[in-house]
Symmetry: C4
Subunit: 194 residues, 4 copies
C-alpha cells in the first residue's frame, strides 16, 4: 500500500523528467533540412539522457521490488535520487546547446556521479530494511559491480572533458549507457521465480 | 505487480506527451478573431497528433492486456516506443508553425513510421513471452493488417509531401487516424469474454 | 483492471492540465508590489480554471465509479473530453493576458460548452454500457439538471460577453463554479452505501 | 478504490509541481563557470522548494493513510491544498530571479502559511470522517506541534524579510524544512504495526 504510492510518485517524476527534456529541442523557424542541422547535438544529448533516465527507471523498478517496508530513510533517499535526476534536463540542455563544450560535459559527468551515488544510497538504505536476502535482492546487489564501473567512467569523464577531449567523455557516457541496457540474467531469473 | 508499474510509467509519459503539445498553441497578444487565424494550422496539427497519441494509448492498453510476464526485452521495446512518441510534439509544432511545408510533413510522416515500427517491435516482443495464444492476443494481432496499411500510407506520404503536395500527405494521416478509431469488434468481444 | 488504467491515464492528463496553467503566471522581472499588479487578471483566471478542472475531475471520478465495462465508445468519449479540457489552459491564458476582453471571454464560454457537451456524451455512453441503474448511477444522472443550468449560463455568457459586458459573463462562470462545489448529497449517500 | 484515485491525482500534481520548478533554472547561453554563477540563488530556491514539496508529499502520504472514507469535504480540502502548492513554482522563481529581494521573500513566506493552513484544514476534515482514532491517526496529529512552530516561523519570516533581512527569513525556511525531515518515530511505529 505504502510502497505502491512511493512507486506512483516516483513514476510520475520519472515520466515528467524524461518528457520535459524534449522541450529543449526547439522548433526551427524555417522549414528546411538546413535549419534542423544545429539541433543535431541537442538531439544526441536527448537520446543519451533519455536512455539514462530509462535505465534508472528500470533499475529503480527492480530495487523497489526488493523493498519490504517503506521507512522514512527510504523515502528521503528516494527524494534525493529524484532531486539529482530532476537536474538532468538542465545539464542535458546546456551540453546540447553549447555543442559538447568542455565545462558542460564535465558538469554533466558530475551530475551523473551524484545520481549514481544517491542511487547507491537508496539501495543500501533499502537493504537495511530487511533481514534475509532473497534471490532477487542478491541479484540486484550484483549490479553494484556495474555501478562501480559506471562511477569510475563518470569520474574519469570529468578530467578527460576538461583537459583532453569532451568527445571521449561523451563516448564514456555511451559505453555506460549500453552496459546497463544489457539485461541482467540473474534478475530476470529471480523475477520469473517469484 | 511488475506489469502495473510498466503501465503506470507509460500512462504518465502518454499523458504528458498528449498535454505538452498544447503549449505549442501560443497565446495571441491581441484579443481579436483576426489574431487567432494564424493559429489554425497549429490547431489542426494538434488535433491530428492528439488523436494519434490517443490511438497509440488505446492500442498499448490492449497490447499490455495480453502481456503475461515483463521481460527486459519488453521493457526496452516499450522505452523505444515512448522515445519515438516523445518526438511527436516537436514534429507537430514544426509542421503547424510552417503551415504544412513539404519538408516538415515528410519529417512528420517518417516519425509516424518510426512509431509504427517500434510499436510492431513491442507487439512481437510481447508475443514471444507467452506460449499459447489467447482469444485476445489473436484479436490484437489481427490489427497487424491495419498496421500494414498505416505503414504503407505513412511511407507514401513522404515522397508525396516532397514531390506532389503536402496536403495530400496530411489527408493520408487523417485517413489512418480515422481507420484506427473504428473499434475492433474482435478485441471488444475478447475483452468482454475475459 | 481495464478501468483502472483508463482512470490512471485520465488522472495524469487532469493533473498536467491543472498544473500547466500556472506557467501562464509569468514571473515579474522586478521585485515590487507594483510589478505583481498586472498579474491579477491572469491570477483570477487561474483560480477560475483551476476550480473548473477540479470540478470535472471530481465528477469524472463519480462517473467512472458507475462504469462497469470499458468499451471503445467509452474510451473515445473520454479522449474527446480530455481533448476539450486540454484547451482550457490556452483559453485561460488568453482571457487573463487580455484582461477579460470580449472576444476571449466568448471563446472561453464556448470552450466550457464543448467541455460540458463532451462530458454529457461520456455520461450517456457509460449509461448505455449497463442494464440496471444502481443507486449511484441514478444519483450521478441527477447532476444532469446542474449540467443543463451550466450549459444555459455558458450559452448566455457568449452573447453577453460580446454585446453587453464580459464582466457579467465572468460572473456567470463563477456562479456555475460555486454551484458545482456544493456537494451532491445523493452521490455522497450512494457512495457510502456501497 | 475511491481513495486510491484521490491519491493518484494528488501524486500526479505533486510530481508535476516538483519537476516543473526546474524549468526556472534557465540554461546559460555560454559554456563557462562564470555563466552559471547568476543561477546560484535560483538553484538554492529550487532546493528549498523541492524539499518543501517533498515534505508535503510525505505528510500527505501519512495523512491519507489514516483516511477511511472520501467525502466531498476531503476532496475539496485536498484541491485547496494542491492549489496553494501549485503556486510554489511561481513564488520560488520570483524569489530566485530577484536574488532574495524583501518583497519576494515575504510573498514566499505568505504562500507557505497558506499551504500550511490548507494542510491543517485537510487534516481536520479527514479527522472528522472517522469516529475512533487509530494509533496512526494519533501519531499524525502529534505533528500538529511541528505545524504550529512552522506557522509561527513562516509568520515571523514576513516582517523579518520586509523590515530586517530577507536572509534571516530564508534561514527560517531552512530550519522548518530540516525540522520536518527528522522522521516522526511515532508514525514509523504505527505504520509498521499495521
Amino acid at each position: 500500500m505504502n510502497k505502491s504510492r512511493l512507486e506512483a510518485f516516483s513514476d510520475g517524476v520519472f515520466a515528467i523528467i524524461i518528457t520535459i527534456m524534449v522541450l529543449e529541442l526547439k522548433i526551427p523557424e524555417e522549414a528546411s533540412w538546413h535549419s534542423v542541422k544545429p539541433l543535431l547535438p541537442v538531439f544526441i544529448c536527448y537520446i543519451l539522457s533519455f536512455s539514462f533516465i530509462a535505465i534508472y527507471w528500470v533499475n529503480h523498478h527492480h530495487l523497489m521490488h526488493t523493498l519490504r517496508r517503506v521507512s522514512a530513510g527510504v523515502m528521503w533517499a528516494n527524494v534525493l535520487l529524484l532531486f539529482c535526476l530532476s537536474l538532468v534536463p538542465w545539464a542535458t540542455g546546456w551540453m546540447g546547446k553549447t555543442n559538447f563544450e568542455r565545462v558542460t560535459v564535465a558538469v554533466y559527468g558530475s551530475l551523473l556521479i551524484s545520481c549514481g551515488l544517491s542511487y547507491t544510497l537508496l539501495g543500501s538504505t533499502i537493504r537495511k530494511t530487511y533481514k534475509n536476502a532473497t534471490k532477487l535482492s542478491l541479484a540486484v546487489s550484483k549490479d553494484d559491480k556495474k555501478g562501480l564501473i559506471s562511477t569510475i567512467l563518470y569520474g574519469a569523464s570529468i578530467p578527460v572533458a576538461l583537459f583532453v577531449s569532451p568527445v571521449i567523455s561523451a563516448c564514456f557516457f555511451v559505453i555506460v549507457s549500453i552496459m546497463w541496457m544489457i539485461p541482467n540474467k540473474a534478475i530476470e531469473e529471480a523475477l520469473s521465480d517469484e
